[in-house]
């Protein structure tokens, strides 16, 4: 009775049996196996794309500002353009996911510190405006000084762009997201660095791409290590990250991260390696967000992830 509907049938586990059997998968009780919490209504690909694009654009903006400061015009250009395209597309994905897109401006009706989506909107809106203006100046070759000021301002918001989406997911009752709230921002931050670094590696001439290559390697290593750490600390929730579709996607993400990290090491010498790093790094960053998103949805659908950890954290209330 481990995987069929029977296990969750309400009359199948006596109270004595519960205490003997450690309330694991075998013996937990539920209402006909129905979910306890509601599955998020957020759509694919809108929301995973929003997660990836926001992070990538944040790290790209920092990359652009630092490239500018170190006199690397090619990398500055790529950083600025990736930041603008990423954040604009992130806004479009967010609006497209709304149930009432015509009312998207209500997002800025209030500022609510208790709502990560409100705080996020107040980061994303000025960030996309600033990076958009910077990109126009970059492409048109106009107003270099105002562009530099705007880019500098966007860089203040940029670190927040790489992590606020982690809080957005973690601040829910979804066990697969909430239980990993300590580690998730670090995973997303690494993933953002990997996304921006791999694009810089591919799009900037080899002689000028060293900082981007380092970002790609560091981001890939960070995503691999922190992703592992997150799963190890996730307790029972880790099962959702390791099995089924999310497990497959996250294993693919890890393989792609490793490929990207390896290719980026040789990208200074080979154009092919640079493109391999760019594509695999981008794919890894996308896959990580999508895998985390799907793992959370799985833990919302299965009452096991809601009931058993809640039982275990407070035996006094049983």
């Amino acid at each position: 009775m481990s995987t069929d509907g029977n296990r969750a049938e309400p009359a199948n586990a006596g109270r004595d049996e519960m205490s003997e059997n450690d309330s694991g998968r075998e013996s937990f009780r539920s209402y006909y196996g129905n979910p306890v919490i509601k599955e998020p209504t957020w759509k694919v690909p809108d929301v995973p794309a929003y997660l990836y694009l926001g992070g990538m654009s944040g790290a790209s903006a920092i990359m652009g500002v630092l490239a500018d400061a170190s006199g690397n015009g090619e990398l500055r250009r790529v950083g600025r353009l990736c930041a603008a395209v990423g954040s604009t597309a992130s806004v479009v994905a967010l609006i497209h996911d709304l149930g009432r897109p015509a009312r998207f401006l209500n997002m800025l009706r209030v500022f609510k510190p208790t709502s990560p989506l409100s705080v996020g909107s107040w980061i994303l809106a000025p960030f996309s405006g600033l990076t958009g203006a910077v990109a126009v100046a970059e492409v048109g070759g106009i107003a270099p000084l105002p562009a530099r000021l705007a880019a500098g301002s966007s860089a203040v918001l940029a670190p927040g762009m790489t992590t606020y989406t982690a809080v957005l997911l973690a601040d829910t009752a979804v066990p697969g997201w909430h239980e990993v709230y300590r580690e998730l921002p670090f995973v997303f931050a690494s993933s953002a660095m990997l996304g921006a670094g791999s694009l810089g590696t591919a799009l900037v001439p080899r002689s000028r791409s060293a900082p981007a290559r380092r970002m790609a390697v560091t981001g890939a290593v960070g995503e691999l290590a922190l992703g592992q750490l997150m799963e190890r600390r996730a307790g029972r929730i880790a099962e959702a990250y390791r099995t089924g579709r999310p497990g497959k996607v996250l294993r693919a993400a890890r393989a792609l991260s490793a490929v990207c990290g390896g290719a980026a090491l040789f990208a200074g010498r080979s154009r092919v390696a640079a493109w391999v790093a760019g594509l695999s790094g981008t794919a890894a960053s996308v896959a990580t967000r999508y895998g985390v998103f799907e793992a959370g949805r799985e833990t919302a659908r299965d009452p096991y992830y809601t009931v058993v950890p809640q039982r275990e954290r407070d035996p006094a209330r049983q």
Binding site: P10, A11, A59, G99, N106, Y181, R311
Partner: protein, 306 residues
């Protein structure tokens, strides 16, 4: 911090309306006490709710699992009667395995004669939005569409909601949901319009057994304690309250229950916690990660090569 503000995200909070900014003269906090020991599963509450609140039909499918063909709470279902069929030993009142619940005559098991006589009992419970003291749906709503009413309840303003859907996974009870026809979020309002006229909510008015009781929350909590004692004296030791405790993970529910089995048997979470309790810790982790990424990227620009 003053006692008024230190419990803003979790913990006991005597007056959520005042905390939300209403003057001290606001009406008493009101709510539901749903005593499932007298529920007869008539679903009058479901029907009254739909009629009063003009909620659209939510499907005419048979679930095939029990007499519950409603399934769960949702955007168009603000009261939901759960049905659980159990066989118990009348002496010990402990449950006996009967496999899947079904209709009709239970098979061969010894019933009337013999030492291990068993009887069927039905658990029926009318579920509803809990109107939490610390409501995660309200906390995470980015537009202010969800608000705390003067009665201490949690209500959605349909005109403000932009359909972001954040409240849906935030609710630890799985109550609020999106309505596809409008794209907005929707849930029980505790009949806000009726409360304003001094009338009880439609479901409580329609309940023929007073399983659903409406009133000032303090009064309901007292009444519930008495009812549990009474049941315990009658030997129904499995009776317990759920959601009544201001010390619980959501600061106590505005709609709480008397149950005859574990909460999860009725589809309720055993130990719900308002997700924003951990928000300060989450914000710290995110800020640390944001700082780390900025420093790490800066590090990538150091040391030779372009």
């Amino acid at each position: 911090m003053s006692p008024d503000t230190e419990n803003r995200l979790s913990g006991p909070l005597p007056d959520p309306s005042q905390e939300a900014g209403y003057s001290p003269e606001h009406p008493q906090r009101s709510g539901f006490f749903t005593d499932t020991s007298v529920c007869i599963g008539c679903k009058a509450c479901e029907v009254a709710c739909k009629e009063w609140n003009l909620l659209p039909e939510d499907g005419l499918n048979l679930t095939g699992m029990s007499y519950d063909n409603t399934g769960d709470l949702g955007a168009d279902t603000w009261r939901h009667v759960a049905f659980v069929e159990q066989r118990i030993d009348p002496q010990t009142r402990s449950r006996v395995d009967i496999g899947m619940p079904g209709m009709g005559v239970p098979d061969a098991a010894p019933q009337e004669e013999g030492g291990d006589a068993t009887e069927i009992r039905w658990l029926m419970s009318s579920d509803v939005c809990k109107h939490c003291t610390h409501a995660a749906c309200l906390d995470v709503c980015p537009t202010g569409a969800l608000f705390r009413s003067e009665h201490g309840t949690v209500v959605v303003q349909d005109e403000v909601c932009n359909g972001c859907g954040y409240c849906v996974p935030a609710c630890p009870y799985g109550v609020i949901d999106m309505r596809p026809e409008t794209g907005g979020a929707s849930k029980c309002t505790l009949c806000q319009d009726r409360l304003g006229e001094g009338m009880p909510p439609a479901c409580a008015q329609a309940c023929p057994t007073e399983s659903i009781q409406y009133g000032p929350l303090d009064e309901l909590r007292e009444r519930a304690e008495q009812r549990v004692e009474q049941l315990h004296e009658q030997g129904i030791t499995e009776a317990r309250l759920y959601g009544h405790d201001p010390e619980d993970g959501v600061g106590g529910d505005g709609a709480f229950f008397l149950l005859l089995d574990e909460p999860e048997v009725y589809g309720l979470p055993p130990d719900p916690v308002v997700t924003t309790r951990d928000l300060p810790a989450m914000a710290k982790c995110a800020a640390a990660a944001a700082g780390a990424v900025a420093v790490t990227i800066a590090g990538c620009f150091l040391g030779g090569g372009r």
